[in-house]
């Protein structure tokens, strides 16, 4: 039976989602390093999927992808499809037990971003938006993955912090063992 982490509130998720959307619209077009740009919606979808149910993750991924498609010059529906599927896979793999800035979370998110960016570049190549497959995959795709991974560290830390504030933690000062006086 999959573990579920109940701590993260809907309010904190909405705040993070709004911040990510604002960053996607305002900041993403301004940052381009080595042919890559930051896809904040991909980062948001994947980091949320770590601690979500598979169905919810798919919906979040679809919404994030659709927002990305609507605010960029890319074909509408493609990123929605990729994020929907990838978020579902992440949530199924994590089974709700991951989240926060842990090695397993980072590894899963980075691998998913790499796969998603490669597949996105490949689809753009098939659609004729890109004419050079190698450049689409290893140029834009790889550099975007690196940038997304760096940003995802911050998101994982923030989401992890939001969840441990209200959930169980090993660092509590109290103890269930009674000290004899």
């Amino acid at each position: 039976m999959p573990l579920r982490e109940p701590a993260r509130t809907v309010k904190s998720v909405w705040i993070i989602a709004i911040v990510a959307a604002v960053l996607q619209v305002a900041l993403s077009p301004q940052i381009s390093i080595a042919g890559g740009t930051v896809n904040f919606m991909m980062v948001l979808a994947f980091t949320l999927a770590l601690s979500s149910e598979a169905g919810s993750a798919a919906i979040i991924g679809f919404a994030c992808g659709l927002f990305y498609d609507m605010t960029s010059a890319a074909p509408v529906g493609l990123m929605a499809l990729i994020l929907c599927f990838a978020s579902f896979v992440i949530a199924s793999s994590a089974r709700g037990a991951l989240g926060g800035l842990t090695r397993d979370s980072v590894r899963l998110v980075v691998i998913a971003m790499f796969a998603a960016n490669l597949f996105y570049g490949f689809c753009l190549f098939l659609l004729g938006v890109q004419t050079n497959l190698l450049w689409a995959l290893l140029g834009h795709g790889l550099s975007s993955t690196v940038l997304n991974s760096l940003v995802s560290l911050a998101f994982l830390a923030i989401l992890g912090g939001a969840s441990t504030q209200r959930g169980f933690t090993a660092r509590t000062k109290s103890s269930r063992y009674k000290i004899p006086r």
Partner: protein, 318 residues
């Protein structure tokens, strides 16, 4: 999940098939309009940090690139001095106005507020849209010449596909020899002038200008400078690399050309001569290659073009 995936595929299918005026494009225009204030705010916030990107680029540039840049700097410095004397303009905005008057352009000024939000396309967003009379297909230029073409137009912002995007194509010609071809963006962001017949006269340093064929871009606007010319023994066409006059993404003010005068469009004679040259070149060699140019964004449908005796009245360089 399956339902959402099917919905995504349907959206993608409708987006591709509906053309530029379908409901999905309309929804996207609405979203872009609503989010444009955020994009403008981001542009304002990020502008002080643009210099950091230049520093980073300079640190990672090779010696060859730096050498080229020094040469280019010297060339541009001389050119700037020449232009300053000729037009008595000192600022970029004045240069824009100068370009407008030099080419008698029917144009509206706009400001770049952002680049592409995805890594796979070379676009910029400008701060005016359909409310200002802009429509899809209008050419956009800065003080140094053509930078691209509007591909999406919302109410108050427009998306401009830059000429160095790999899906861009502009009918162009060499200023000195009048040899015509197609200027195309490359995956790495560089420019290449294609379909220039091997018998044409082309050399490094030649200025590339728009040919006006297709009726989208005005005839004679500068596009860039030839940086390398290659041709093997059996080649029908040259392989010509072109460098733009300036980095488009670092410019803030642009002109959107709203309409063309009669003398800014290629004449029927130009088109006929270009077609004759294309036919001749295609019959010499690879005819399949020349067909690739038919889908150019300029809409000219011209393949390889060579026009040694162009009687046009191009005023190529501001």
């Amino acid at each position: 999940m399956i339902v959402l995936c099917v919905l995504s595929v349907l959206l993608l299918t409708f987006y591709i098939r509906e053309g530029d005026t379908g409901p999905i494009h309309a929804v996207r225009s609405g979203v872009v309009t609503v989010t444009s204030p955020l994009k403008m705010a981001g542009s304002v916030i990020a502008s002080p940090f643009n210099a950091l990107g230049n520093i980073f680029s300079n640190l990672t540039a090779s010696q060859e690139t730096l050498s080229d840049l020094r040469d280019q700097n010297a060339e541009l410095t001389a050119k700037v001095a020449e232009l300053s004397e000729a037009q008595e303009t000192a600022t970029r905005l004045e240069a824009l106005v100068g370009l407008q008057s030099t080419y008698n352009l029917q144009s509206t000024a706009a400001r770049i507020i952002g680049g592409s939000s995805d890594a796979w396309t070379q676009t910029v967003t400008i701060d005016k849209g359909s409310a200002d009379g802009f429509t899809v297909g209008m050419p956009v230029c800065n003080a140094y010449g053509v930078i691209g073409q509007i591909t999406e137009c919302a109410l108050n912002v427009s998306t401009v596909l830059l000429i160095n995007d790999e899906t861009s194509g502009v009918a162009a010609m060499i200023q000195s020899s009048r040899a015509q071809g197609m200027l195309r963006g490359q995956p790495d962001g560089s420019l290449r002038l294609e379909y220039v017949p091997a018998e044409a006269e082309v050399k490094v340093g030649d200025i590339v200008i728009t040919s006006g064929i297709g009726g989208v871009f005005p005839k004679g606007l500068p596009l860039g400078t030839v940086t390398s010319v290659e041709k093997s023994d059996n080649d029908v066409y040259y392989t010509i690399s072109v460098r733009t006059q300036s980095s488009t993404e670092n410019n803030e003010e642009v002109l959107v050309i709203t309409s063309l005068n009669a003398d800014q469009v290629a004449t029927d004679e130009d088109v006929a001569q270009a077609n004759d040259a294309a036919t001749a070149a295609a019959s010499d060699g690879d005819s399949g290659e020349s067909d690739n140019a038919a889908g150019d964004s300029d809409g000219s449908g011209q393949d390889s073009t060579a026009d040694e005796n162009d009687s046009g009245t191009d005023d190529s360089e501001a």
